[in-house]
Symmetry: C2
Subunit: 326 residues, 2 copies
């Protein structure tokens, strides 16, 4: 039981509900209201508040930054879903399916501006440094999405570039969220850097673990369809490394199954690919890489001068990320 963390979450949920309720119901902001109401784990804004609290800052002053990162994150979902032609998001219709593509483009644009509007509500003294961090991070998130799209058309992607991509697309926004909270709590430069590195490493560890679970997770606990990446022929760490480690014969078979759909039955395709992954031990390798990133995160966290309560909450957060052992 963590009363303080619950308190932060209550504050956050109230602020989000308040924000969502005041959005107009028109064609521009109606879709913003829709996507923001679909929920999600609210990890990023929670991290802003956790960091602000851990470095002894005032939580209320960090709420606008928390909303900024959550609105920005949801904007990326709206536009990414158009690009990926995804029909569903959080079990509901994606914005471009519920409305149309033009609406999803324009309402997404409005969300970026909404995020900056929230950011502008932060302490004026902190604004230049917050704005620089947010600009840098959001540009990196776009670049990560671009790399992800590029990879789909590239024959050979190295695992280093794959990890760089997930770092940009997913992990930097976690680092940014934490650092924003730290900045607003007047944390030292060293603390700001360490808490960012903690978030980024934890984010990469989490994403690698997510790739593992997508192929090998327990269908009863994993939120998404197990084998979804394999069926979508998605280039993840597993297939990248498997193709590298495979014998010429294995490589030929794997490429045929993965990219040419020579096995038409979905269940059989998933099973055969998983079996090759296991033979090549990339299932173990990805878990080790994930653990290594979590270890880096742990080390960075220990570098910070956060208070004991904050340390406990950050450890809890890391446990939640690591603990998806289904």
């Amino acid at each position: 039981m963590n009363t303080k963390s619950d308190h932060l979450r209550t504050l956050l949920e109230a602020e989000l509900a308040d924000y969502i309720s005041q959005l107009p119901d028109d064609n521009l902001y109606g879709p913003v209201k829709y996507i923001m109401s679909l929920g999600g784990k609210r990890i990023r804004p929670h991290l802003v508040l956790l960091a602000a609290n851990a470095f002894g800052g005032e939580i209320k002053k960090a709420l606008p930054a928390a909303l900024a990162v959550e609105i920005f994150h949801n904007f990326t979902l709206v536009h990414d879903d158009i690009m990926d032609e995804a029909p569903l998001r959080r079990g509901e219709e994606t914005v471009h399916k519920k409305y149309d593509i033009n609406t999803a483009i324009l309402s997404g644009d409005a969300m970026v501006i909404e995020a900056y509007k929230k950011l502008a509500l932060c302490n004026a003294e902190k604004l230049p440094v917050l704005l620089d961090l947010f600009n840098q991070t959001s540009a990196e998130v776009c670049l990560g999405q671009q790399y992800d799209m590029d990879f789909e058309n590239e024959k050979s992607v190295t695992e280093e570039r794959y990890i760089e991509m997930i770092g940009l697309k997913t992990a930097v926004l976690l680092g940014c969220s934490l650092q924003m909270g730290a900045i607003l709590a007047n944390a030292s430069k060293a603390d700001c850097e360490a808490i960012y590195a903690f978030g980024k490493a934890a984010g990469i560890g989490f994403q690698l673990q997510d790739d593992y679970l997508d192929a090998f997770g327990n269908p009863e606990n994993f939120g998404k369809q197990v084998g979804g990446d394999i069926l979508a022929d998605k280039k993840t760490y597993l297939i990248i490394r498997a193709l590298q480690k495979a014998s010429p014969k294995q490589r030929k078979e794997l490429e045929a199954i993965y990219f040419e759909d020579t096995i038409t039955d979905p269940k059989q395709k998933i099973e055969r690919v998983r079996s090759i992954f296991r033979d090549l031990e990339v299932d173990e390798e990805i878990q080790e890489r994930s653990k290594a990133y979590f270890l880096v995160a742990e080390r960075e966290l220990q570098k910070t001068a956060i208070n004991p309560e904050g340390m406990e909450q950050m450890e809890n957060f890391l446990s939640v990320l690591k603990g998806r052992n289904y």
Copy 2:
């Protein structure tokens, strides 16, 4: 001959060229480089510098804000062209045609962030007020685009709502550009408001005149195809007012020609519609409305305490906007 204005333009062109040249050639920023290189009149960034100069500010300090508005304006072109399915922009392929829709969405997103990056380079003391103005304006521009799309599906749009739409979609960014320059030059609140009102009124006047010229301009001087709006069944001030003023019989004919394409020959369609516009005297009315907005602009300009050189440059700008009597 206006040496100072030429000097501002030279500075601006150099800054833009410098900015464009340092953009990476990758899949994310290559399209940004492409659209930013297509040229255009660079009206908005020029207005930032003109205002900074007119209120006695340092031009160099206004250059980042000038780039911010130009990058933002080009972002709106990239995303609007997707929504309008436009094949050409400034005589060249639009971004989504040259690349693809996903690229145009994502590179457009990156441009919004680029605009904010430029804004973040402005004087830290001025940043909160500049950011508020830019956020407010960019949200209005999105809303204007939304109204424009909404109107295409609405049966009856009033001329007030049409003028509100062009105000949001086009004119506020002119006002914002001027006000940014004024803010950076430490202009008074009253001056900041008057120069904004000047820009906004001039923008609406210009857009109404553009609507007139689109139907009645001289093909030899008008940059676009004369009659383009009529052929595209676009809801402009002319058709909105014509339908209001028409007799039941005229209304029936006009609706049939305009929205049901009962005249298939383009030249004949344009001629018949123009003839009805003339009969209903909406050609004269729109010119009067345009002039009235230019008059408001003139009055607002006279309210400001700008220096004589600045006044001359602003008058020149207004003359250029008004002077498109082809």
